[in-house]
Amino acid sequence: MQIQVNGATEVVPEQSTLSQLIDRLRLSGKRVAVELNGEIVPRSAYAARPLKENDVLEIVAAIGGG
C-alpha cells in the first residue's frame, strides 16, 4: 500500500507496523520522533501501531541550527 513519509510516497507491505517501517528506513535505534496523521506516536507504541493506506508520516530528528 502507499503512504507518505516526509512528503515522499513510500510503498509498504499490507499490515506492516510503524516499527517495521522504522526498520526498513534503517532508523531503528536512531533518535527520531514520529507524527502520524498529525498525531505524535510515542516510541513505545511503534510496534503496536499498524499502518493504513495513505497514512501521512513525519519522521524528524535534531539537526544543526541556531
Partner: protein, 266 residues
C-alpha cells in the same frame, strides 16, 4: 574587599536548572560535525540549541547524528522552532521535540514574522507561548527588544525572555541598549540576548548591561577560525559578567589624573 558573588557561586538559573556558563550556542552553519564539536567545547556552553527537521530517509546506517556529537548526557539540548512562521507550526515542532528527547520540556520558541528580518511575529509568539506553558513546556522565548512584550511573556510564565540585539545572523551588535537595559530592569526571569552579536565585545556589552546570558550561533560559526572565536566568546561573556558585578567606574567628561599631582621633583 567583600566581593560580589561570581565564579562558581554565580549561576544562571533557567527553569529549575543551574548553569555555570552564561553562553548558549547554536549548532548551525559549521563546516562539519568535527568543527561543531570543537567549537562548542571551546565555548564552554552547557546549553546547546538544535533545529528539528525531517530526517533524511535512506541515509547510510553509519552516518553520524548531531546528538551523538552533542550528547544530551553532557549538554542541555535546547530544541528551537527556527523556520516556523505560525504559532501552530511552532507548537507542532515543540511537541515533536519533546517526544524526540524523551519528554524534554525546555524549548526555544521563535515564531517568525518575515524571512528578510527574521524578526518575531509578536502576537503569534504570545499565542504560542501561552499554549506551550499550558502544555507544561519550559519556554525560552525569542522576541523583539520591546520592553512591554518582554514583560508580558514573563507574566505568561516563560522561563527566560530572549530579546534580539539585531537581526539573526547580522552580526551588527546591540542596536538599542536602552531597550535591553529596560527589559533587564523590569525582569524577574533571566534575560538573554538572542541574535545579532557579531564579535566578542558585543557579547561583553550585553553582559555589562546586566543580561543573564547570550545565545549565539553565526558569530562563532562564521568566524574565520570558529574554535578560536568560541574561546573568545567564552572569555567575553565572563569578562562582561564580571565587569557588571564589579561595577564600572563613573564616566567623566574631562580627565582625572591617575598619579598624584603633588611631590614632583621640580
Amino acid at each position: 574587599m567583600n566581593q560580589p558573588a561570581q565564579g562558581p557561586s554565580d549561576l544562571l538559573v533557567v527553569g529549575g536548572r543551574s548553569f555555570r556558563s552564561r553562553l548558549l550556542v547554536g549548532t548551525g552553519k559549521y563546516k562539519d560535525f568535527d568543527e561543531t564539536r570543537l567549537a562548542i567545547e571551546a565555548s564552554g556552553a552547557e546549553i546547546v540549541t538544535v533545529a528539528i527537521r525531517r530526517t533524511n530517509i535512506g541515509q547510510k546506517a553509519g552516518e553520524p547524528n548531531l546528538l551523538e556529537v552533542i550528547p544530551p548526557s553532557r549538554y542541555t539540548i535546547l530544541p528551537n522552532t527556527a523556520g516556523c512562521y505560525t504559532a501552530d507550526d511552532a507548537l507542532r515542532t515543540c511537541r515533536l521535540a519533546r517526544e524526540l528527547l524523551d519528554d524534554h520540556r525546555l524549548v526555544k520558541l521563535e515564531v517568525l514574522g518575515d524571512p528578510k528580518t527574521l524578526y518575531p511575529d509578536v502576537p503569534a509568539t504570545l499565542e504560542a507561548a501561552k499554549q506551550l506553558v499550558k502544555e507544561g513546556f519550559e519556554v525560552m522565548v525569542y522576541t523583539t527588544d520591546d520592553p512591554i512584550t518582554a514583560k508580558r511573556l514573563e507574566e505568561m510564565g516563560c522561563v527566560a525572555v530572549m530579546p534580539l540585539a539585531a537581526p539573526i545572523g547580522s552580526g551588527l551588535g546591540i542596536q538599542n541598549k536602552y531597550n535591553i537595559l529596560t527589559i533587564v530592569e523590569n525582569a524577574r526571569v533571566p534575560i538573554l540576548v538572542d541574535a545579532g552579536v557579531g564579535t566578542a565585545s558585543d557579547a561583553a556589552i550585553a553582559m555589562e548591561l546586566g543580561c543573564d546570558g547570550v545565545l549565539m550561533n553565526t558569530a562563532i560559526a562564521e568566524a574565520k577560525h570558529p574554535v578560536l572565536m568560541a574561546s573568545a566568546m567564552k572569555k567575553a561573556i565572563e569578562a562582561g559578567r564580571e565587569a557588571f558585578l564589579a561595577g564600572r567606574m563613573p564616566r567623566r567628561r574631562y580627565a582625572s589624573a591617575s598619579s598624584p599631582k603633588e611631590g614632583l621633583p621640580f
